[in-house]
Every structure is written in structure tokens, then in C-alpha cells.
């Protein structure tokens, strides 16, 4: 989107999204006939004023015009700069007053203005909103520009250049793609393109108002009771939210129910009129959590936003969103719960990390929830930059099964069922169905074939993350229809497999870090009826990752025992 550079009386430099806005505003003395990207207007203003107030009080208008043209020509020689004086005849009416189609005080106007609170939106997002309300693009732009005039919102260049280089204002990315444009060098951000392009020629609308700042009665009706372990953790979460630290790490055992631990604090905060974001990197996590929130907070409007959400504009102080959607919010959350922080695609993604920190209000609280904390997170805890809250026990008060390492010098590549493997698989199968994890997709099919041949009376199936048949297969797996199931990555959330026994083939493979190993072992013994079971890591070598995974699980059990949260 482009803006018209205007000079107002007393010679103040401003910009307006439409020529009509320049013509019919009596303060405008003159304006440039062709609109320009905001970045160029801002750059010119900075050059002219060198950081001082943007008025040229007492100077000669013609000199000011010349100086502006000169500066703009320095930026780009190809610009055609013509100054225009607004022609206002007394009979001509402002055809663009707010109040014609979308009037101030009008219901549609009010509804839209609520929806954009606290948001950071691209022009494409705004056009989407216009479409939802069957309005013209310029009506929406005009409406939100009104907030800019009121001082409650800003237009910012989507990608901005300063003395140190480019930076995307939506995701913070500095490594952008440069290209020579009509206006000289321009840049496109490659990091947040999945939610629409971000370029130096375009703008973001940044609404600086809070969601809704009124307290409201919140009906919180949990359909479960916190276990003793969850209760302890929940109290600590509440203390953290009421306290002085701004970041905390909730380190939970796999299957201990870390999400529910946040519910009581969320209820309290919503009651005080605070806004909450529950973010997770993967969609399946959001779809798993959404019904639980909606059930425990009946009547409370919960916004659910993922890449598949068609309705991007919703209301309510409680937002459940995938981490990419977080880039559409600006400093508007009092509390952010970030689930599975170590899971792809969040881990190590600077853009999303930046977005998360900018969606948080200054002084807001950020709680990371995980079963497998990253080294960076643990380092922050050690340095005292982040509070640590532990949830070491499952609801059935039994310890986590500690993985066993089985040294196997045979090769997995040949997918040969040696007697070593056959014996162990047969033995494990007596306790329950087997879930075999392999490090590569290319291993899945050959191993299914080989296992089928070896165990002709067993039902053997398998899948990988991009398998088109994954959904139905997981359904059957859940029903206990397979004796052996071969899989690559960890299974989707919300899947509890009663009596399952876990075997990891090639556990020393580099794709299996300690986090992956803990998650895979964490599939065992989740339900109360089958709280036992075994996780076996089979490999030629014992790796540091295997060692760490085993020691993490042992340490959780030790802590839980000390706190009296489990019985042996």
C-alpha cells in the first residue's frame, strides 16, 4: 500500500492513504501527486529533520518542497515528483467521510474496530477483513487509518532499513531477500512469507490497544480434578503469574497433564480482564486442547487460530493459536503459555521467537511447557533468568518406565530379523502391543515386510509423518488392532495406547536426540490400568543422547518420590 505525502499548515509532514484524504482535509497545504511507499516517506522525513520534531515552522514553503524533492531524488532518481495544491470548491463535499458506508458509531464499524484491537496486520489481512464484511478495501483502510490518526495505532513499513541493515517488522528477520525495485533497492522477508508476503514497499497496521480491558465473570468448570502433583505445580504457576519473574519453565514428565495445570491460573487472569495466549507449534496440539478449554470454560469466547482457520478474526481474551499466527498480534497478551516449545517448527526458529516476545505486553508473563527442555532453556534456569516449575509424576502415581538399553551389533539397514531381535520382540509382545520406532522413513516399509514374514500370525502395520493413510492407521492403532506398529517420528498428541511397549531400532542414530528418545519412551505406561511396560533402546553404540534421556527420566522419578507423588 502507498501513501500520499502531505504538508500541512505550519508545515508539518504527514501521510495519508488516499488522495481524497489530502484534498478534503483543510489542514493540507500541498501534497505529492504520486503516492509512495511509507518506508520512503519516513526515510525522507528523518533525513529532513535529523531526528528533530517534524515541523518546519517559520520556513518558506517553496524551500521545504524543494528540500523534500531533493531528498526523495537522492533515494531514487526515477521518481516523478509533482506537487499539487488541494482544489477545494465550497460545493464539493467530502465523498470519503467516515459515516458514509462505514460510519463512526455504526455497528459494522464498531465490530471491525473490536476485531483489530491488539493485532498486527498486513494489508492483505485487512483486505481479507474487508471481504468478510463485504466492504471495499479502501473502506477498511480508511477505518483503521482513523485509529492511526487517533494515536491508537501505527502504520509501519513491513520491512525496514536502518543504519545496520534490513529487518522484517513482523517477524524480526534480518536476513532478507533484496531486489532492485522501481524505487531502488527493496527487500522481501523469506521467514514469515507463509502468512503472506512482507516487503519493504508494503506496510503493517499495528494496533496498540489492548484486547478488552474490563474484568468479567468467568465461569470455570473443570471436568477433572488436579492430582497432587498437578496441584503443586498449579500453585507454583499461580505464584509465578502473581510474582515478579517474567519467564518460567514448566518441566513435566511425559503424560503428566501439563496443560490442565495452567487452567486455574488462566481462569483467575481472565476474571481480572487479562488476555491469554496458549500457543503451540503444531496444529494437532491446538485441536487437542481447544475442546478441553471450551468444555472447562463454558460460554467464554475462545479464539482458535491455526493455518487452517478460515475465520481469522475472532473475539475474546483467550486465544489458542499455532505459533505462526502469533505474528498477527502486537503486545497484547498479559500471559503466554507456550506448549511443546522444543517441538518443530518452533525450536530454533528466530522469527517465531521474536513474534512471541512481541505478542507479549511489556511486563507480561511467558510460561514454557515441555517434557523435554532445550539446553538453552535449562541454561536460563541455571542462570536464574527463568523460574523452574516441576511436574514429575503422572496421575496414577506410578514411576515413569526407565528405558533399557540393549546392545545390538547387527545392522538394521538390511532389515533382517535376527534371533536376538525375534526373542526380544516375542518376549515384549507378551506384555502388550509393540510400537517400534525407526530413524528413517525408508526403513518403515522394509521392516514391515520383514516383520510380517517373521511373525505371520501377527498383525503388522506402520506409518510415517507424511503417510496419506496415517489417520486411519492411527485410529486402528488406538483400538489395539496391531501387534506391531512401525513408525518414524513421535506419534501425535492425545494418543494414549493402553499396554503399549516401545522399542527403538537404531537408537544411536543422530536424528534421535535426548528429546526424541524421552518422548518415545514416554508413550509407555500412560494409563492407570497399564501403568507399567517397557521401553527398549536397541543400538550398536550408547550415545550421549541415550544417556541423557535415561538420566532425565530417572531424575523425574527421584524427585517425584522425594515429594511423595509416586509409590514404587
Amino acid at each position: 500500500m502507498l501513501f500520499f505525502l502531505t504538508i500541512e499548515d505550519k508545515y508539518i509532514l504527514r501521510f495519508r492513504p488516499f488522495e481524497e484524504r489530502a484534498i478534503f482535509d483543510s489542514r493540507v497545504v500541498c501534497y505529492l501527486s504520486d503516492p509512495l511507499p511509507l518506508a520512503i516517506i519516513q526515510w525522507a522525513a528523518e533525513q529532513l529533520t535529523r531526528g528533530q520534531a517534524r515541523d518546519f515552522c517559520g520556513e518558506n514553503l517553496e524551500i521545504i518542497k524543494k528540500r523534500i524533492s531533493k531528498v526523495l531524488n537522492e533515494y531514487s532518481s526515477g521518481l516523478d515528483l509533482k506537487w499539487k495544491v488541494p482544489e477545494r470548491s465550497s460545493s464539493a463535499e467530502d465523498s470519503m467521510t467516515l459515516g458514509r458506508e462505514v460510519g463512526n458509531g455504526n455497528e459494522t464499524w464498531y465490530a471491525i474496530n473490536q476485531l483489530v484491537r491488539g493485532k498486527q496486520l498486513s494489508v492483505r489481512d485487512l483486505r481479507g477483513l474487508a471481504k468478510d464484511f463485504k466492504l471495499r478495501d479502501r473502506e477498511i483502510i480508511d477505518l483503521v487509518h482513523n485509529n492511526v490518526l487517533q494515536g491508537t495505532a501505527l502504520w509501519v513499513p513491513s520491512v525496514k532499513r536502518n543504519s545496520k541493515g534490513w529487518q522484517c517488522q513482523r517477524c524480526g528477520e534480518k536476513d532478507v531477500e533484496e531486489w532492485p525495485s522501481f524505487y531502488g533497492l527493496a527487500a522481501t522477508c523469506g521467514s514469515c512469507g507463509s502468512i503472506g508476503p512482507s516487503t519493504s514497499l508494503d506496510v503493517l497496521y499495528r494496533d496498540q490497544r489492548l484486547f478488552m480491558n474490563s474484568s468479567a465473570k468467568v465461569l470455570f468448570q473443570p471436568h477433572w480434578r488436579l492430582t497432587e502433583a498437578q496441584n503443586l505445580a498449579s500453585e507454583q504457576v499461580a505464584e509465578f503469574i502473581g510474582g515478579t519473574s517474567d519467564k518460567a519453565l514448566l518441566w513435566a514428565a511425559c503424560g503428566a497433564g501439563k496443560t490442565e495445570v495452567c487452567f486455574p491460573s488462566a481462569a483467575g487472569a481472565l476474571e481480572q480482564g487479562k488476555s491469554i495466549l496458549f500457543a503451540a507449534p503444531r496444529q494437532d496440539v491446538i485441536y487437542d486442547i481447544a475442546p478441553r478449554f471450551q468444555r472447562d470454560f463454558p460460554d467464554y469466547p475462545v479464539q482458535v487460530l491455526t493455518g487452517n482457520t478460515s475465520n481469522r478474526f475472532q473475539l475474546g481474551n483467550m486465544v489458542l493459536a499455532t505459533t505462526h499466527q502469533v505474528l498477527r498480534f502486537w503486545q497484547c497478551f498479559d500471559i503466554i503459555f507456550l506448549d511443546e516449545m522444543d517441538a518443530f517448527p518452533y525450536r530454533g526458529n528466530r522469527a517465531l521467537d521474536w513474534g512471541l516476545n512481541h505478542a507479549l505486553r511489556p511486563g507480561g508473563k511467558l510460561l514454557y511447557l515441555t517434557a523435554t527442555p532445550s539446553t538453552e532453556a535449562l541454561t536460563s534456569v541455571r542462570k536464574g533468568e527463568m523460574l523452574l516449575i516441576r511436574l514429575p509424576a503422572r496421575h496414577h502415581r506410578k514411576p515413569l518406565p526407565v528405558p533399557i538399553w540393549a546392545k545390538y551389533s547387527g545392522s538394521f539397514e538390511g532389515n533382517v530379523c535376527t534371533s536376538f531381535l525375534i526373542e526380544r520382540l516375542e518376549l515384549l509382545r507378551r506384555s502388550g502391543p509393540l510400537l517400534i520406532f525407526v530413524p528413517k522413513i525408508s526403513w518403515v516399509a522394509p521392516w514391515i515386510k520383514s516383520l510380517k514374514k517373521q511373525f505371520p500370525y501377527w498383525s503388522v502395520e506402520g506409518s510415517y509423518s507424511s503417510d496419506s493413510e496415517r489417520g486411519p492407521k492411527l485410529k486402528n492403532l488406538k483400538k489395539g488392532q496391531y501387534d506391531i506398529f512401525v513408525s518414524t517420528t513421535i506419534l501425535e498428541r492425545g494418543i494414549t495406547l493402553p499396554g503399549i511397549q516401545v522399542v527403538v531400532f537404531g537408537a544411536d542414530h543422530p536424528v534421535f536426540d535426548e528429546r526424541a528418545l524421552v518422548q518415545m519412551a514416554g508413550r509407555v505406561g500412560r494409563s492407570a490400568e497399564y501403568s507399567g511396560g517397557e521401553a527398549v533402546f536397541v543400538s550398536k553404540n550408547m550415545t550421549p543422547a541415550i544417556k541423557t534421556a535415561v538420566s532425565w527420566i530417572k531424575e523425574q522419578n527421584k524427585l517425584a518420590l522425594e515429594l511423595g507423588l509416586i509409590q514404587l
Binding site: 526515477g78 533484496e178 531486489w179 532492485p180 525495485s181 522501481f182 522481501t188 508476503p197 514497499l201
Partner: protein
């Protein structure tokens, strides 16, 4: 906007020779265009309708539309590199709507090498112009970026002087006849003398009916251009 492509290439040229190239259309490792995308999208086994550029069976010179006189008439020939579908369509969309003009540099060599084998050498290249307001908003004209790529690879000069003076409604929803009429009076040649007697390749990103090519070619002919060949990245495919 002069030499947009020279600027682009300076930075990316070295990348061209890097050992690991991924396919620009599907992300496969055998780039810049993998064998399966070459087969599925560039369709070398098919011919191109001389009248409108559409992909047709090799034994045909013209598609049935052009045979029955419903195609463009002002051009000597139109040709398209590939079929406007799948990864090629996505690629063009990314360049155009997601503001990644630099991507063109990834296909400049294979596209140029293909083009020079299809069309006769000419005096210069003319990019289908974009309206000034649209250009100001987007910051670049994708047809001009493609022309710059060809200029860089083949050394053919870029000829300027055609302008788009009117912004007409989108062509997408119009019928063939409406499309042709919709574009009347849209283009003008600002310096006719400069183009007189020349032969040109007229460059665009995509063609469907050839209506845009036809409208630009008409003003080029009026300015005395002797031969006009339409060249684009992608076109439709004649069914049946």
C-alpha cells in the same frame, strides 16, 4: 528500474554454479529443474500453437481456436516454455504475488536457452508494460524482470517506449471475445520512430488467450515494427 536483472544477477550469479541445486518447481534435489518437472511441466514432447502459444499435439501447427480464426492475428508467432500448472504455476505466483522477483534468476538460463531455439533472433525485447499505478504499488513488473533475464543471458537489447495507459478490469472472468475488446486502447507507444522497422520478442509471464499479446502487438505494428514474436513462461494446454 533500469537493468533490474543485472542487479539481481550480480548477487546470485555465483550461486548458479554451486554443486547442490534444488529444483525450483518441486524442491527436489536434481535442480535447477528436475527430470520429472521437465517432463510434467515443460512438456517437450508437445508442440506449441503458432497462433496463441497453447500446448498442442506435435502434429498440429495451430490449436482449434486459432484454426477457426478466434486467435490473435498481429503476431508472427507465440510460444510458451511450459504448461501453466503445478509447480510452474506456483513459481509464477510466488514471483508475482509473493514479491519474489529474484526467483526468476533461477530459471533464466534454461528458459533463455530454450527460447533462442524456438524463435528467430531479433533486434530487441519488449516487455508487456504494467500500468504506472500498479507498478508503483508492486515495485516491479514481472514481465520486465523476465525480459531482463533474457537480455542478460542472450544479449538482446531491451526496447522501451510502450506504456499501459489504462487499468482495465481483470481479464480472469471475461470470455475470449470480451478479453480482446477489454484491452482496446490500453497500450500506447510513446516514441514510435524508435521502433520502426525492428523485429522484437514481446515478453509476458503467462498467456491464456493471447489477448494481451495481441493488444500490445497491435500498437507495435502501428508504430512500424516488422516482426513480433510472443514469448512467455507458461500457457494453457489444448484438451483432447
Amino acid at each position: 528500474m533500469k537493468g533490474i536483472f543485472e542487479e539481481l544477477v550480480k548477487a546470485t550469479r555465483t550461486l548458479w554454479y554451486e554443486a547442490e541445486q534444488i529444483c525450483v518447481f518441486c524442491g527436489d534435489k536434481h535442480g535447477p529443474i528436475c527430470p520429472s518437472c521437465r517432463a510434467d511441466l515443460l512438456r517437450p514432447e508437445l508442440g506449441r500453437c503458432r497462433g496463441c502459444g497453447k500446448l498442442v499435439l506435435t502434429e498440429k501447427t495451430y490449436c482449434s481456436d486459432c484454426v477457426s480464426g478466434r486467435g490473435p492475428k498481429q503476431l508472427d508467432q507465440i510460444t510458451a516454455w511450459g504448461h501453466y500448472s503445478g509447480g510452474l504455476k506456483d513459481f509464477i505466483h510466488t514471483v508475482k504475488y509473493n514479491t519474489h522477483p529474484r526467483l526468476i534468476s533461477k530459471i533464466s538460463r534454461p528458459f533463455s536457452e530454450w527460447a533462442i531455439r524456438q524463435l528467430p533472433a531479433v533486434d530487441g525485447l519488449v516487455a508487456v508494460p504494467m500500468h504506472k499505478a500498479r507498478l508503483a504499488e508492486r515495485g516491479y513488473n514481472q514481465a520486465e524482470v523476465i525480459a531482463s533475464a533474457l537480455h542478460w543471458e542472450l544479449g538482446l537489447p531491451i526496447l522501451r517506449g510502450v506504456e499501459r495507459i489504462e487499468q482495465r478490469s481483470s481479464q480472469v472472468l471475461l470470455s475470449r471475445q470480451e478479453r480482446l475488446r477489454n484491452l482496446e486502447g490500453t497500450f500506447v507507444v510513446s516514441k514510435p520512430g524508435y521502433l520502426k522497422g525492428r523485429s522484437v520478442w514481446l515478453i509476458d509471464d503467462v498467456t491464456t488467450t493471447g489477448a494481451t499479446f495481441e493488444a500490445v502487438a497491435e500498437v507495435l505494428r502501428t508504430s512500424g515494427v516488422e516482426a513480433v514474436y510472443g514469448l512467455c513462461l507458461a500457457a494453457g494446454l489444448e484438451k483432447g
